[in-house]
């Protein structure tokens, strides 16, 4: 046991030294996410997007069009379906959507955030739509700036790349240049080697992202409602699962090009469907199911819940549980498939 820990420790330390001494890549890991968040903040700080987004609660079979209520025929407004008022109302309060309409109620209701200029405009449109009168329900809630919402997404995305490519490329390179074969000739076991790679990557990713998070909070005044410790736990579990995902990809490959291709096939959909830049509210059902199967979705949901709503770990049992389960599956698969040498 002691010998095993010594071997894992030595391999973790050696890998960490290699990473930290690769100055160019370390610098890039630190600077890129800050630039990205700052860039997005700049882009989205101007006039808002022209599109209005309205959640509608309607009978399941009915199409969301003017047949339900003339207001639903308004051009330039995106209408999408929500199931319950309870699920949709917080989105109105946080300015993620501009209005919530319930056409199943008699008379129809709508909820508007009294602090939202877009909401006020939409109210006028309802009044002028010529349909049945709707009952107004006012709500309020502190507006969440886009940057507050998008920053966790960008940091999470950056972390995903660091996890997948950081572990995937390194192991594939080690296999290709014969370093793994050399290690195989020592008493180091496959599982010890993998754990060392995981620990080294995880530690460094947590340190780098803590620095980046600090810088973003300082530069952009990011909102942080919950506990830093909870956020650290969530980020650690999320990063662990994505590193473990990288282990699976790199378990056998000896070509960096092929590994890069496969990692792109995994990371690009994650970037698109996991809600990095835009909320997946109103997205087609299939995409939402796909998002559920990817670790980044759960990481971002949990991180945003802590940062924006001040959620505690107890409320995050579902995303944390899913991430832990994914980690276990990936790790078992990665260790089972692992090969020291190319065939």
């Amino acid at each position: 046991m002691k010998a095993m820990l010594r071997r894992i420790g030595a391999a973790t330390w050696a890998r960490s030294l290699e990473f930290v001494r690769d100055r160019s890549s370390l610098g890039w890991n630190l600077v890129f996410p800050i630039l990205m968040v700052a860039g997005l903040a700049l882009v989205f700080s101007g006039p808002g997007q022209p599109l209005f987004k309205v959640a509608v609660i309607a009978p399941p079979a009915a199409a969301l069009d003017a047949g339900l209520h003339p207001f639903l025929g308004t051009p330039q407004v995106q209408f999408y379906r929500e199931d319950t008022v309870a699920a949709a109302l917080p989105k109105v309060q946080r300015h993620r959507i501009d209005l919530l309409v319930d056409v199943t109620a008699q008379p129809p209701h709508y909820w508007v955030n009294t602090q939202s200029p877009k909401g006020a405009l939409l109210e006028r449109l309802i009044a002028g739509s010529g349909g049945a009168a709707m009952r107004r329900e006012a709500t309020t809630g502190r507006e969440i700036r886009y940057v507050d919402w998008v920053a966790p997404g960008v940091l999470g995305m950056n972390m995903m790349f660091a996890c997948l490519f950081g572990i995937g490329y390194v192991i594939v390179r080690y296999r290709k240049n014969g370093y793994l074969k050399r290690l195989n000739a020592t008493p180091l076991r496959a599982v010890e080697f993998l754990v060392a790679q995981l620990l080294s990557r995880l530690t460094l990713i947590l340190i780098v992202n803590a620095l980046v998070f600090g810088a973003c909070r300082l530069l952009l005044g990011l909102r942080m409602e919950g506990s830093y410790l909870d956020l650290l736990v969530v980020v650690a579990v999320g990063a662990f699962s994505m590193i473990a995902m990288g282990l699976v990809v790199s378990a056998r490959l000896a070509s960096e090009e092929l590994a890069g291709g496969i990692l792109n096939v995994i990371s690009t959909p994650m970037m698109v469907v996991c809600g990095v830049f835009f909320s997946m509210d109103g997205a087609p059902r299939a995409l939402q199911i796909a998002a559920e199967c990817l670790p980044l979705t759960h990481l971002l949901n949990a991180a945003r819940a802590i940062m924006l709503d001040g959620a505690g770990l107890a409320q995050l049992a579902y995303p944390l549980g899913v991430l832990a389960l994914m980690s276990a599956v990936y790790l078992a698969l990665g260790a089972a498939l692992f090969k020291w040498r190319q065939d």
Partner: protein, 298 residues
């Protein structure tokens, strides 16, 4: 030294290894006695590396067996032997001393690092990034890494391939020192000079089979009772008058003779200039050609 009564450290029996399309090793058997340097010789693709990797416990043979001290190779075998591969990358951005410490930490029994540094003459570049070492320095570091666990048995797979002559000679000196310290060495090489200098016993392997086995000097004595004269190609046209026949080889013509004195006298009588004449004993390279009809690097 070659006491047949000493039990072998490594016993290899009827080793066969098939890959998908090739039969790399085709029934090899040999013993490696403690304290000796054992050489596996042969051209590229002869099956040397496959054989040594099976002996190292890294490849499973298709059939046949390898026994270390009379026992099958188990999990702990790796802790007890030292291995230097033909080509190995090390981790980037680690210095020589960090590489040594890392590999050392992987073993239960460790030789003091200071000793390794002195033995392999690493003092001058201890803090250099291992990527920035010359070929010879790199091989010395890899040798030190192979010795971190103070192994009784050391495997060297083509350790001097690609080195310049000076670096190769330095490496031979190191191997000689290690041998003198009582270690057993299994070496593969396609340099016959290296095998002749370092090995107490050799097997010559070709196409996965052993074609000769024994002590290098005895093997040569068994197969040859003659010497080789090398006359520069420019003088070749005068050979007809001497009654000697030669075979052109590169810039020279080689004449085989059992009686050097008579042959030289014939050359003199024929007016052949002796200024560039070379007389050499037969080598393992000659033996390989004799046995296979091919050159080692063809």
């Amino acid at each position: 030294m070659m006491n047949a009564a000493t039990p072998p450290l490594l016993e290899v029996r009827d080793l066969v290894k098939h890959f998908k399309q090739v039969q790399a090793v085709n029934g090899l058997s040999f013993d490696v006695r403690p304290g000796t340097c054992f050489g596996l010789l042969g051209p590229n693709g002869a099956g040397k590396s496959t054989t040594i990797e099976i002996c190292e416990g890294l490849l499973k043979p298709t059939s046949g067996s390898v026994r270390y001290k009379g026992e099958a190779l188990g999990r702990r075998y790796r802790e007890r032997v030292g291995i230097q591969f033909q080509s190995t990358a090390l981790q980037d951005h680690l210095t020589v001393i960090e590489n040594l410490r890392f590999f050392s930490a992987l073993y239960p029994v460790r030789r003091p690092i200071d000793e390794l540094i002195a033995l392999c003459r690493l003092e001058e570049f201890l803090d250099r990034d291992s990527k920035k070492l010359s070929g010879g320095q790199r091989q010395r570091l890899l040798l030190a890494i192979a010795l971190v666990n103070d192994p009784e048995l050391l495997f060297l797979d083509e350790p001097t391939t690609g080195l310049d002559p000076q670096a190769r000679r330095n490496f031979w000196d190191l191997v000689t020192d290690i041998k003198a310290a009582g270690k057993t060495i299994v070496l593969t090489t396609h340099y016959m000079e290296e095998a002749y200098l370092l090995c107490d016993e050799i097997v010559i392997v070709d196409r996965g089979r052993i074609i000769a086995q024994g002590v290098p000097s005895q093997l040569l004595a068994e197969h040859f009772n003659d010497s080789m004269l090398e006359v520069p190609a420019a003088e070749a046209h005068k050979l007809a008058a001497t009654g000697l026949t030669g075979v052109a080889k590169g810039e020279a013509v080689e004449i085989q003779t059992a009686d050097v004195n008579t042959a030289v006298a014939a050359l003199l009588a024929g007016g052949v200039s002796l200024a560039q004449l070379r007389i050499r004993p037969r080598t393992l390279e000659d033996l390989f050609i004799e046995l296979t009809g091919r050159g080692l690097r063809e």
